[in-house]
Every structure is written in structure tokens, then in C-alpha cells.
């Protein structure tokens, strides 16, 4: 499915505490911005994927749109890559000409919390672990980091480098929620949440909306923007053991997905100009770099600490928008929007100098990955 689909439009609201909005209004605003960006009207949408917005019918009523197909998807970050894969499949099969994906998140104003008796990260199994005080996706990632530290000697300095590097990037992003520089010392003085993870290892729950429009590659010639080809997209799951930290740091799924997308795209890690790594918690960045072949297994700590992820000086500028750790936790969509900006050359002060091949990756119980490129 190489480059059958392109991103024609992208839109994002502001991020933060937006108490006068809800998931519907945020999703609708983002979608209007994406349609504007694509030079389309809402009547051009023939398939609509609605993410994290509770009721697709109400959203369609509110937005005044009757697409041929509507697909509601849960508001989980692991689903963002799946939504993109579904959109590309609909385009490649000729089922749809323009697929709109809209994501609306009012989690901050609605008081969304992770961890505690309502936490669903372990599904029904959570109830068995709560009596031991075990809960939250953050604690599972803390355990994963404890395993990696034991197995390879990975130091907290690697996590500090991730947090401070992404924060440096956020300083160049007017849309980022966190725009105050942090140092390694700040990192080390921040409180533990689920030790060994500290405050700055956690993503930022905020309100916001992002929308993306995926269209046929042949639409590229009608675009006001340089085309953004979805050169490859794939996914794999590891759901059966998802109640526990995976013994392989999701490497099995990442290896499968990586092999597939590098082959489809005919690109390799060394061809990438930027990486967008799903950073719900900072250790995921380490696991993703290893799993997708940017460094050997066990060496991500040193790879990161050497400065490879920094925008101006690093070999692989990563999460140039600040990522979930410093821009806002938009469950992958902020990273996908930034991928589009980078490929278009529209990332302003954050624009990468290297090739406009941008690699999005999400390591989780559903692992997904996308390569965006300026050439088909």
C-alpha cells in the first residue's frame, strides 16, 4: 500500500484547560480547520472516523454531515495508528475518496484520571491487582523501566534527557502547553509518581482537538500544500498478555511492523529526518528506538543520552512539537499533525533540516507505525 494515500488536511485547536468546550466542539473545530487546510467542504467527506467523542450520531448532527460511512473508535492512543491504517485501506480499496478523522478530548476539564478503582488499563483484571495497590498505565511503564534498568543498566539520566529534550522542542512550539525550560537537575528534583518514574516522565492530560484528512494520492496535484504521502502504515497487537509489562518491551510487534513498513516504503531508519515517538511515558521512547531498529537492543539509554533526539544537533530529531510530555497528550494526534507539518516544511522554528521522511511509532498493546514522506 505504498503512497496510495496522502494527508490533505490537518487541523488542531489550542491545547490546555478549555472549560467552555467539550469533546464534540473540540472535534468539530479541529475538523473545520482540517477541511480549510485541505481546501474542502464537509460535503467532500465520504468516510468519517470519530475518536474519543462519545456519540458519533450526535457529532454528525452537530457538524451537519452525512458521510457514507461513520466509524467510532475509542479514545486510546494505541488506536490512532489503527485509525490511520483504516483510512489508508479505505482509500487504497477505492471505498472512499476523503476520510476525515476527528479527535476531541475534554479529559482535563472532565477530570479524567488514570489509576484507581475505575482504571481500565488492565481491563477486568485490574480488580485483582487493586488490593495490592497496583494500578495505572504509569506504574506498568515504571515496571518496564525497572526491567530495562536491571537487564541493561539503563540509567535515569536517559529519561531525564528525553524529558528535557522534548521540553526544549516545546519552547519553539507556540501551541505547547509546557513552555518553561527544564534542566536535568529539575528532572531529578521532581517528585516520584510511580518510582522509578518522576513527574516529568508522565504525559500531560489536557483538552484539545485534532483532525486529519486522508485522500487519494491523485489528489496531490490539486493541493495548495506540498503533498504528504503516507508511504507505509502497519500495525500488530500483543493484547493477550496486556495486563502485565511485556517481557519483550513489545519488540515482537515492533519487529513485525518495522520490517513491513521499511520494506513497503523502501526506506530505512537512516533515511528518516525526524521521529515522532508515542511518549505516554518516557520509557516508551527507549523501547521504540530499540524495537524499530534505531539502536541495538539494550543501548537506547546511551543512544538518547548522547543527544541523538535533539532538534538542532541530533541525528534523529524526535517529537519536535514537544510530544505528549511537553506539547499535550493528544494520544498520538499531536505527533501525527507535527509529522505533516515537518513533511510540508511548515514547522517554522522547529523545521527539520534533514530529509522529509518522518517516522511515527507507537509501542503499546497495539503497536502501530507510519512513515510520512514528501515523495511517493
Amino acid at each position: 500500500m505504498r503512497s496510495k494515500a496522502i494527508v490533505t488536511g490537518v487541523g488542531a485547536t489550542e491545547f490546555g484547560t478549555l472549560s467552555t468546550e467539550d469533546a464534540y466542539t473540540l472535534g468539530a473545530r479541529a475538523l473545520n480547520l482540517a477541511l480549510d487546510d485541505a481546501g474542502m467542504t464537509k460535503n467532500d467527506i465520504d468516510a468519517l472516523i470519530v475518536m474519543r467523542i462519545p456519540e458519533y450520531q450526535r457529532f454528525s448532527q452537530l457538524f451537519g454531515v452525512d458521510p457514507d460511512m461513520v466509524i467510532p473508535m475509542p479514545g486510546q492512543g494505541r488506536m490512532s495508528g489503527i485509525a490511520m491504517r483504516v483510512a489508508c485501506s479505505l482509500i487504497a480499496s477505492g471505498t472512499a475518496k476523503n476520510v476525515a478523522i476527528t479527535y476531541g478530548n475534554d479529559g482535563k476539564s472532565a477530570g479524567a484520571k488514570y489509576g484507581g478503582v475505575a482504571d481500565r488499563y488492565a481491563g477486568n483484571e485490574g480488580a485483582v491487582w487493586f488490593p495490592y495497590g497496583m494500578t495505572s498505565p504509569g506504574a506498568v511503564h515504571a515496571m518496564l523501566f525497572s526491567m530495562h534498568a536491571h537487564e541493561y543498566g539503563t540509567k535515569p539520566e536517559a529519561l531525564a534527557t528525553i524529558a528535557t529534550t522534548f521540553r526544549d522542542h516545546a519552547l519553539l512550539n507556540p501551541a505547547a502547553v509546557m513552555r518553561k525550560a527544564i534542566t536535568s537537575a529539575d528532572y531529578g528534583q521532581a517528585p516520584f509518581i510511580a518510582e522509578p518514574l518522576r513527574l516529568f516522565d508522565y504525559c500531560l492530560i489536557n483538552d484539545g482537538g485534532v483532525a486529519v484528512i486522508v485522500s487519494r494520492a491523485s489528489a496531490a496535484r490539486d493541493q495548495k500544500h506540498p503533498p504528504v504521502y503516507i508511504r507505509a502504515v502497519d500495525s500488530a497487537s500483543a493484547l493477550t498478555g496486556a495486563a502485565f509489562p511485556p517481557s519483550d518491551y513489545w519488540r515482537g510487534a515492533m519487529s513485525k511492523v518495522g520490517t513491513s513498513i521499511y520494506q513497503t516504503a523502501d526506506l530505512r531508519p537512516e533515511d528518516m529526518g525526524a521521529l515522532m515517538i508515542y511518549d505516554n511515558f518516557s520509557p516508551t521512547v527507549l523501547f521504540s528506538l530499540e524495537g524499530f531498529g534505531y539502536c541495538p537492543h539494550g543501548e537506547s539509554g546511551a543512544f538518547v543520552t548522547e543527544g541523538n533526539l535533539a532538534l538542532k544537533s541530533g541525528r534523529f530529531p524526535t517529537n519536535t512539537n514537544g510530544g505528549h510530555l511537553s506539547e499535550s497528550y493528544m494520544q498520538g494526534w499531536g505527533l501525527i499533525a507535527e509529522s505533516v507539518r515537518q513533511v510540508r516544511g511548515a514547522a517554522d522554528a522547529r523545521q527539520i533540516a534533514g530529509p522529509r521522511n518522518v517516522h511515527y511509532m507507537c509501542a503499546s498493546p497495539i503497536t502501530s507505525s507510519i512513515i510520512f514522506s514528501d515523495s511517493p
Binding site: 489509576g115 482504571d119 488490593p131 495490592y132 494500578t135 506504574a139 525497572s146 536491571h150 518510582e195 522509578p196
Partner: protein
């Protein structure tokens, strides 16, 4: 403990036999009547052979520490006065995995991953108990 979390451990809960087993000083898990594969937590179907029938069986109480974390934030009312506390992931010799606590955290900076642990049991009521682990050598 405390009504909230204790309520999750009652006899009518799918995992009730496990918690009752812990009260009696045993680790009970489900075993598929058809393919004999053991599993925990309780599920209505065997993921291996889809059989619906199973029996709770006793398994060995020795395992090793796979991972750890230490909670510095109270997600449960019941743990508010226990902060910070450690949760370990243990793999028993049968391959069953459990999150649990250490029997004692005295002078524990980091639980030693890979170390052998043995279960000890902490009664919570007449009916149910928790499984905790102690390091085999240190106690």
C-alpha cells in the same frame, strides 16, 4: 483492610476462590478441565482451548521477582497511609504471574529483580487474605 477494596475480594467475585485460598495459606488458580492449562486471574473461558469448565487448584508458592515499582501517590483511600509502598511482579515456577507486595520493605531501596521469593499470607478477614512475598535468603 477496608470495605472498598475488600469488596472486590468477596466470595461471589469470579476470583473469590483465589482470595479464600490466600486466607488458608495457599495460592489457588484456575485450571482448565479440558486442556489442563492454568490461568489467573479468573476468566469464563480458557484462552487456549475455549473450554468453559475449570477447577481451582493449588500451585507452588515459590517464584522470582520480574519487575517492581514504588507508589508515591495514593490512588486508593486504603493506601493513603502506606505511602510510599512497593508493588512487585512475581513469576511463579508454574509460569503464573502476580502483582503483589513484599512481606517487608525494611531497608529496601530496590527489590532485587531475579531474586527467588516465597509467598507468605496475610489474612484480611475470616474469609479472604492477601499474598505477599519474602526474599528467600534475606527473609
Amino acid at each position: 483492610m477496608m470495605t472498598g477494596l475488600l469488596g472486590l475480594m468477596s466470595a461471589d467475585n469470579p476470583n473469590g476462590p483465589h482470595w479464600q485460598g490466600a486466607r488458608a495459606g495457599k495460592i489457588f488458580v484456575q485450571r482448565c478441565d479440558c486442556c489442563l492449562k492454568t490461568r489467573f486471574p479468573a476468566t469464563p473461558l480458557c484462552a487456549n482451548c475455549a473450554s468453559k469448565t475449570s477447577t481451582w487448584v493449588e500451585i507452588g508458592t515459590t517464584g522470582r521477582i520480574v519487575a517492581w515499582c514504588r507508589f508515591h501517590r495514593a490512588y486508593f483511600q486504603e493506601f493513603k497511609d502506606k505511602l510510599p509502598y512497593i508493588v512487585i511482579l512475581v513469576e511463579l515456577e508454574t509460569g503464573i504471574r502476580l502483582y503483589a507486595n513484599l512481606a517487608t520493605e525494611k531497608q529496601m531501596t530496590q527489590p532485587p529483580i531475579g531474586a527467588t521469593v516465597t509467598a507468605v499470607f496475610e489474612p484480611l478477614s475470616d474469609q479472604v487474605g492477601l499474598i505477599k512475598f519474602r526474599l528467600k535468603d534475606i527473609g
